[in-house]
């Protein structure tokens, strides 16, 4: 589903290279965890996958279902099924949460040549998904993410993911700022979306989240490269020993 080949990317503004020859393949149905110390390029990778303009790909390619997505803008990538759950969901005063959800869902449908949802159908879907994630209706009446607690913001991200039904989900540090109860709700939401035709990339600093979203593969990112890959035991190893040994072994 996702093939990243020898990817090199830098910050557009100052040319600092962050991703330095990254290779990664994630199959449909797979949950891949990307772990790495601070500054290894984890968040940058998530932004590059979703097409943020602040980064420039200088070499290599990103294939999604066999096609390069480098020329697509972020909204096209999203409409094709790539979803990024933000580490820091953005507050947008003046845009009602419900309006935002409806526009996003219908714009994606339009792009794919599908009919727009009727209002009752839209309401039904939101109500169902919100109940699963224990999101109160009052929260949905507020402007998007405005005044949401850290946990509410992360739950709202998973709500959007559930409603938009993406094929490739990228979760950027979704566990940061969550207490254990909120973490469980979010993990349950993600697990409910696991399916044979959907891939999930979980980007995280700590192993904690991976107790709840159990990955099929674990990849260690360091200085813009994957330096080691393995199964879920690799995450436990990292938790026990830290990154130093692996970094040394790869050097």
């Amino acid at each position: 589903m996702l093939e990243i080949k020898n990817l090199h990317a830098r910050i557009a503004e100052d040319g600092t290279e962050i991703i330095r020859g990254l290779d990664l393949t994630v199959k449909a149905g797979e949950v891949a965890a990307i772990m790495g110390p601070n500054g290894s390029g984890k968040s940058t990778l998530s932004y590059i996958l979703s097409g943020r303009e602040d980064y420039e790909v200088t070499e290599g390619d990103i294939l999604y279902n066999g096609e390069s997505i480098l020329e697509l803008d972020p909204s096209e990538r999203a409409a094709k099924g790539i979803f990024l759950a933000f580490q820091y969901p953005v507050e947008i005063p003046g845009v009602a949460t419900m309006q935002f959800l409806k526009v996003a869902m219908n714009e994606q449908r339009k792009y794919r040549g599908e009919d727009e949802l009727t209002t009752p159908e839209f309401m039904r879907r939101v109500k169902e998904a919100a109940a699963e994630l224990k999101i109160a209706p009052e929260m949905l009446r507020r402007p998007l993410n405005v005044g949401f607690s850290g946990g509410e913001k992360k739950r709202a991200e998973i709500l959007q993911m559930a409603l938009l039904e993406p094929k490739l989900c990228v979760l950027d540090e979704t566990d940061s700022g969550l207490d254990i109860d909120a973490l469980k709700v979010v993990a349950d939401g993600v697990n409910a979306l696991r399916s044979p035709d959907r891939a999930v990339v979980v980007i995280t600093h700590y192993q904690r989240l991976l107790d709840y979203i159990v990955p099929d593969t674990v990849h260690v990112l360091y200085k813009g490269q994957i330096i080691k890959s393995g199964d879920k035991t690799l995450a436990h190893e990292l938790e026990a020993k830290g990154y130093a040994d692996i970094i040394e072994a790869a050097a």
């Binding site: 979703s50 097409g51 943020r52 303009e53 803008d73 972020p74 909204s75 990538r77 999203a78 409409a79 979803f83 990024l84 933000f86 969901p89 953005v90 947008i92 005063p93 003046g94 845009v95 935002f100 526009v103 996003a104 714009e107 994606q108 792009y111 402007p143 959007q160 938009l164």
Partner: protein, 425 residues
């Protein structure tokens, strides 16, 4: 020999003075009114329109910006249009003539032309000071309008819409409106153009609130793309009176909307909200002055400007707190979204405080669309054009939503904004 001919008149100055000359004998007024008109036009001829050298006109050099003025055309009236909020009582003015067909109970309304003819309008025609160009032009040329008195304690289920519809030519109107003690009303002052042909509109509203009156005054300015709109609202607030002024400028090529008021009674409260939507080569200026004259009065002003293309916006806001006006609470903010490199905004908030126990503040911001917000919306599959329109709309929608008690009104104002954005964004 007339030695006072000090300046070489511009085309616009000539057109205004000529408009007066052409209508002499036809402009309504008793002796006092006519002599006042003469003085005002004489001042216009000798001093000319204000230039940037006059402080209050520094950012709107009217003499340079006003290239020409269309000739007055008595046939330039247009028909009354549908009320902007369904169910409103519409009082309209067409080519200076008041249409008093649907005056609701609790309101006394008469044609301002009659007040000019019987001379009762004379005192109100005085200008606010030597630099009051709008008062001067309007006082010289005003043909009509509406004089409205709202009864004490009167309340209305629906808004009262004052409608000025113009197709081309000139319109000079006045609206002295007094709200009796304890009355509660929403008035919509609406300026609409029905054609793309140039109009020149001057209008002065003189709004007085009696004790405890609670008034929402909305100005909806939707002039045509070639129009000049010079508007002025004067207001005075008695004890515990509450006035919420909401101005939306969504039209015109050259616009100056002045608001000059005074909190005269303790407990008086003013809220000013302004939305200025500018595109093309238009120039829109909102100039506000407020005197907190007595203790324990409050005011809050928020102006939001959205500027596209090569348009220029101006906001001047001056709050004056008199020496005795202790415990004044005044907050003023002007926020601008500049959406093109060639767009321009000048903001000049000022506080002049003579009392020592007050809470006053002001701030001005200028920004582009927030790129983090834009990326977030794109990352959810919303195309860039749509995402930008939503963010621009969000920037101004916040202050419309403050009027949430009247859903139909909020919907109507949101309609004005989205219609404008659809055309320009």
């Amino acid at each position: 020999m007339n030695m006072q001919q000090a300046i070489k008149m511009t085309a616009a100055e000539t057109a205004l003075v000529d408009a007066y000359g052409a209508q002499i004998g036809d402009l309504p007024g008793d002796g006092a009114v006519l002599s006042l008109r003469d003085t005002l036009v004489h001042e216009l001829r000798t001093a000319g329109l204000p230039t940037r050298r006059i402080e209050s006109w520094h950012y709107t050099d009217l003499r340079t910006l006003l290239r020409d003025v269309p000739a007055a055309d008595p046939s330039a009236f247009a028909d009354r249009v549908e009320a902007i909020v369904p169910g409103s009582s519409v009082l309209s003015v067409r080519n200076g003539q008041a249409d008093l067909k649907s005056v609701p109970e609790g309101i006394k309304a008469r044609s301002y032309t009659d007040s000019l003819v019987d001379g009762s309008a004379a005192a109100g025609l005085a200008i606010l000071g030597a630099d009051d160009a709008i008062g001067r032009i309007n006082g010289g040329l005003v043909r009509g309008g509406l004089e409205i008195a709202i009864a004490e304690g009167a309340e209305f289920a629906a808004p009262i819409e004052i409608q000025v519809v113009q197709s081309h030519g000139q319109a000079h109107t006045r609206f002295p409106v007094s709200f009796g003690a304890g009355s509660k009303a929403t008035v919509i002052e609406r300026h609409v153009s029905t054609s793309a042909e140039a109009s020149f509109v001057s209008t002065v509203s003189d709004v007085t609130l009696g004790e405890g009156a609670d008034v929402i005054w909305i100005v909806v300015q939707q002039q045509g793309p070639a129009d000049t709109h010079l508007g002025q609202i004067r207001f005075d607030l008695a004890k515990d009176a509450k006035l919420h002024i909401f101005v939306i400028n969504a039209g015109g090529k050259l616009v100056r909307q002045e608001l000059h008021g005074r909190a005269s009674g303790e407990g008086a409260d003013l809220t000013l909200r302004g939305i200025n939507l500018l595109g093309g080569e238009s120039h829109t200026d909102v100039t506000f002055t407020l005197t907190h004259a007595v203790p324990h009065t409050t005011s809050s002003e928020i102006i939001r400007n959205v500027i596209f293309d090569r348009a220029r916006g101006v906001f001047q806001g001056k709050i004056l707190v008199a020496k005795d006006a202790q415990k004044t609470d005044a907050k003023m903010a002007c926020n601008t979204l500049l959406l093109s490199d060639e767009a321009d905004m000048s903001a000049k908030p000022e506080l002049e405080i003579f009392a020592d126990d007050v809470q006053c503040g002001h701030g001005a911001t200028v920004a582009d669309i927030d790129h983090t917000q834009l990326f977030y919306m794109l990352a959810r599959g919303i195309p860039e054009k749509k995402a930008r329109a939503m963010l621009v709309n969000a920037f101004v929608a916040e202050i419309v939503e403050e009027l949430e008690d009247d859903e139909a009104l909020v919907e109507a104002l949101e309609g004005v904004i989205s219609a404008w954005l659809e055309k320009h964004a």
